[in-house]
Amino acid sequence: MKKYFFVMLLSIMTTATFAQSEKLIKAMEAKIAILDSNNSVDAWKELANSFERIAEAEKTQWLPYYYASYSNLMLGYASMPQDGSMGDNSSISDPYADKAESLLNKAISLTTANTEIYCIKKMVHSLRMMGNPMSRYMTEGAKATEALAKAKELNASNPRIYILEGQDKFYTPEQFGGSKAEAKILFEKAKGLFDTYKTESTIAPNWGRSQVWYFLSQL
């Protein structure tokens, strides 16, 4: 009887753990599926909140924090004035950048340094720079470049590196070192990498295909 009980208890426990990670994966997959098709501020808010809820419920998983950080950054980018003004918009950019950075720091504490983390780090600094390009170009711009270099060092075949690099080239005026031709090469490189890209799991970072498609259609 006693033995029977322990075997049973063990089996319940394993099912529970298994069910839990399955629950995580299921919840994450549903959100990750819309990452690439999403464009609206409201949807990014929804995603940012959802990933953060999962992250805070799990507490030991870096990926939910990673996605929560990414969603807050995309929310930040989407909230910036789209008139191309070079002035001080730090009151818009900084709260999102700060939030994304604190989530990213939690992700960093739960995993080893990897290329995806540095891509997000790059985006944090880029968002801050966009808050006031004239006065932050030298500081935040340099930090963004540094983070991207580190991402490349850790895994040069991560297509997202080239998307971020391509976006910089795409949006920066030519006088400041931007180049649509170079952007195109970078997006094509990302596209090529995606062709053979394999993720470790269904919830590992895999976003970016629609961005590549969008930018290539603009070039």
């Binding site: 009980f5 909140n49 918009n89 920066t172 005026p173 400041f176």
Partner: protein, 760 residues
């Protein structure tokens, strides 16, 4: 009893399959509960994008544009509902999950943060990259303001409150003299901020604007942390660690400079040094000066610094500066036709500043600073005949003299701060200012008259910032000072209040009492003197919208105990503190970066009505350093395809009064009075930055062309009078127009290392 326990235990595990059955049944039965509600802010406006979640669960929702949310959960029993949004305080509520629907509405309170909180901005202009409403300038504005000539105070003169005084250096604020403005670097007083005075030629500040990351220019009502300035405090904060190691080189028509900054690999410490040599000889050969220079101004200056992080939050900074300069010139003498007045000065100045800041436990913070200055001036004055031979003329013997001064100054300051809830804080500390001035006056006979003056000013101060909400802030402070030379003490209260009227707009009030010792040249005095006193009343309205700032301020300043001069026995000097005066006015500031793309401009206007009776004034009059109307228009346009920034500035001041005061028996009287013509100045500069945007650029160059008074407008700053008062001569700038051309290149050492390593 033990038996009983065993029994229950047995019973419990007999029931296990049943428990399991129940548990699984919940999974399948989907006994879901709906949680819904509406989220608003404290102004009853619906909040969208708010996260609503059950703590430690996946279940939750995001509020929509009407602030409503609704979600279903399978969680059961007592749970914690967490409602949060960026910029708001999180709202938590215990809920009991039973039944089918639970309604939880919430009102979120704004988080008190620097970004959203009201700012105590009365009388304060800030140039920094901090995210505060008092910030009206970026640090880069200091160097890109066309009329500033790369000088910090030059840029501040385009803000309301400051006068366009061209014949002498310093900031003349709201009817105050230049001596009523004091400068502080990293908290401690700076004794010789400007190069030593030269008759009728305004001198520059000694320090490069590039060593500061933050500038706070107070035109009144400043904090109890600072004192000994009746009108204004200029508070400068030096830069922290550089972003990378770099070397820089500068070449211009006036000067050559080189410097190096090294950032350690772990990015926790840095050191650097620079040297520059400036010689105006070449420029003066091309641009004719009013003065005939026997020695064109030449300056050697060097500085050195180190900075290191003493902990994650602590930083120790040292800045050391040395300069040595000489100049000598003659001008046609107004006292005796056909003769020349000769003036020469050589100055050496050494300045050290050491500052340490650290966050301590329990939200305590400490700021310590010490500075030491050693300043030496050798001035010689006299007359020459047409062939430039020194002569001494009868009745004008007094024009032949030498003055040798040596000053040693030591300042120390300690401030402890305790952060309270939100942005509220209390601060208190102490300041010590020591000065030892020695002066030797040598008359035409070679007779020497040495004098000396030692002064110790000890102060203690405390202040509290109270942020009741994001919308209301109050700062109250008290400062106590004791001067050893006056053997007197004072207590100065300061208070300011700021209230947020709506998003981006706020109103502020400030009141304060400010004391200052009589200027050193009136000390020691055979007569008993006391502190001079000013009382400030300021009201401000400010509105900051996207890329636009509007500010207006009205003020009233009352002066008491100003120094009066006269004759005691046989010597002229300070006789008492019976002087008085007042200043009132209104000021406007408007900056707009939005209306025209890539075009940035600001306009400032000041109206000033001031009268004072001080020094040898026969009665209260508007002093010669106060113009009724002052205005500036500063424009900046960056043309991206050309990588070039164009800057222009127009400065205007209505005519200031001039007068000549002469002794009539025992009294002083005006022998001549009038108003100088209006002042107009248009300056223009171009900065060309070819490397901008090149990510892998190994060097970053800035080419500068600057022209001041581009339209060659005649400017008159006042009149100087012959000793007998019979002849007068306009005081004009040394040259009408001035042109500056230079190149400044910095090499990012780290960056080029990276490039090399990557290509290997």
């Amino acid at each position: 009893m033990f038996r009983n326990l065993k029994q229950t235990k047995m019973n419990w595990y007999k029931k296990v399959p049943l428990v399991l059955l129940f548990a699984t049944s919940f999974y399948w039965a989907n006994g879901q509960i709906t949680i819904k509600g509406v989220i608003k802010d404290n102004k009853q406006k619906p909040l969208s994008g708010v996260s609503i979640s059950i703590k430690d669960s996946y279940d939750g929702a995001t509020s929509d544009s009407t602030g409503s949310y609704s979600f279903k959960t399978t969680e059961k029993g007592e749970q914690l509902l967490v409602i949060s949004s960026i910029g708001f305080k999180s709202f938590e509520q215990k809920i009991k999950l039973e039944g089918t629907t639970i309604v939880v509405d919430a009102v979120l309170k704004e988080e008190i943060s620097e970004l959203t909180a009201v700012v105590l901005s009365a009388g304060t202009f800030e140039a920094s990259d901090r995210k505060r409403a008092a910030v009206v300038l970026d640090p880069i504005d200091i160097v890109t303001t066309a009329s500033a000539n790369g000088d910090i105070t030059g840029a501040l003169k385009t803000l309301p409150g400051a006068q366009q005084v061209g014949e002498s250096e310093g900031l003349f604020v709201r009817g105050g003299t230049a001596a009523e403005t004091k400068t502080f670097i990293d908290g401690t007083l700076v004794n010789n901020f400007f190069f030593s005075s030269v008759p009728n030629i305004a001198q520059f500040g000694r320090f490069s604007p590039f060593i500061f990351k933050g500038t706070v220019f107070s035109t009144g009502g400043y904090s109890a942390l600072y004192g000994q300035a009746l009108s204004s405090a200029l508070i400068l904060e030096s830069i922290d660690l550089p972003d990378q190691s770099s070397a820089n080189l500068g070449i211009s028509v006036l000067s050559g400079s080189a410097g190096y900054q090294h950032l350690s690999k772990n990015k926790k410490s840095s050191f650097g040094a620079s040297y520059s040599y400036t010689d105006l000889g070449l420029a003066f050969a091309v641009i004719k000066q009013k003065q005939d220079y026997s020695k064109a101004p030449a300056y050697h200056s060097g500085d050195a610094n180190f900075r290191f992080k003493t902990s994650a939050t602590g930083m120790l900074k040292y800045y050391g500066y040395f300069s040595s300069n000489k100049l000598g010139f003659t001008t046609n003498s107004i006292d005796s036709l056909g003769y020349l007045d000769k003036f020469a000065i050589s100055n050496t100045n050494i300045y050290h500043n050491l500052a340490w800041k650290e966050n301590l436990a329990k939200r305590w913070k400490i700021n310590l600073g010490v500075s030491y200055t050693n300043n030496k001036d050798d001035i010689s004055s006299g007359m020459q005949d047409n062939n430039k031979n020194d002569v001494v003329l009868g009745n004008l013997e007094f024009k032949q003299f030498n003055i040798n001064t040596k000053g040693n100054y030591f300042n120390a300051k300690a401030v402890l701060e305790k952060k309270l809830k939100g942005l509220s804080a209390v601060r208190f500390g102490t300041e010590y200012n020591y000065s030892n001035d020695k002066l030797i006056y040598t008359d035409y006979n070679g007779q020497q008259y040495p004098s000396g003056l030692k002064e110790n000013i000890k102060s203690i101060f405390g202040e509290a910032d109270v942020y009741a909400t994001n919308d209301l802030a109050i700062k109250g402070g008290l400062r106590f000072e004791h001067s050893s030379i006056l053997d007197k003490a004072n207590i100065a209260p300061r208070i300011s209040v700021a209230y947020k009227l709506s998003k981006g707009s706020q109103a502020s009030l400030a009141y304060g009492v400010f004391y200052q010792n009589p200027e050193r040249r009136y000390l020691p005095s055979p007569n008993e003197l006391t502190f001079m006193k000013a009382t400030h009343y300021i009201a401000q309205y400010q509105k900051v919208a996207n890329q636009q700032t509007f500010r207006t301020e009205i003020f009233y300043k009352k002066y008491d105990n100003l120094v009066k001069t006269g004759t005691t026995g046989f010597t002229d000097g300070a006789i008492n503190n019976n002087g008085f005066g007042d200043a009132k006015g209104i000021e406007f500031f408007w900056r707009d970066k939005k209306t025209i793309k890539n075009f940035d401009y600001w306009i400032s206007y000041s109206y000033l009505d001031t009268k004072r009776d001080f020094l040898n004034f026969p009665f209260a009059i508007t002093p010669n350093f106060a113009a009724k109307h002052t205005a500036s228009l500063v424009m900046k346009k960056f043309i991206t395809p050309w990588k070039t920034q164009f800057n222009a500035a127009y400065n205007y001041a209505s005519g200031r009064p001039y007068y000549n005061i002469q002794k009539d028996g025992l009294n002083y009287k005006f022998s001549d009075r009038g108003t100088i013509p209006d002042f107009n100045n248009v300056s223009f500069s171009i900065n060309y930055l070819p490397a901008i945007g090149k990510k892998d650029a190994k060097s970053f160059a800035v080419y500068v062309l600057q022209v001041s008074n581009i339209f060659n407008i005649k400017q008159t700053f006042g009149y100087s009078y012959s000793y007998n008062g019979l002849r007068k001569e306009a005081i004009v700038p040394p040259s009408r127009m001035f042109v500056f051309i230079g190149a400044f290149i910095s090499f990012g050492v780290d960056r080029s290392d990276e490039v090399i390593n990557n290509s290997l």
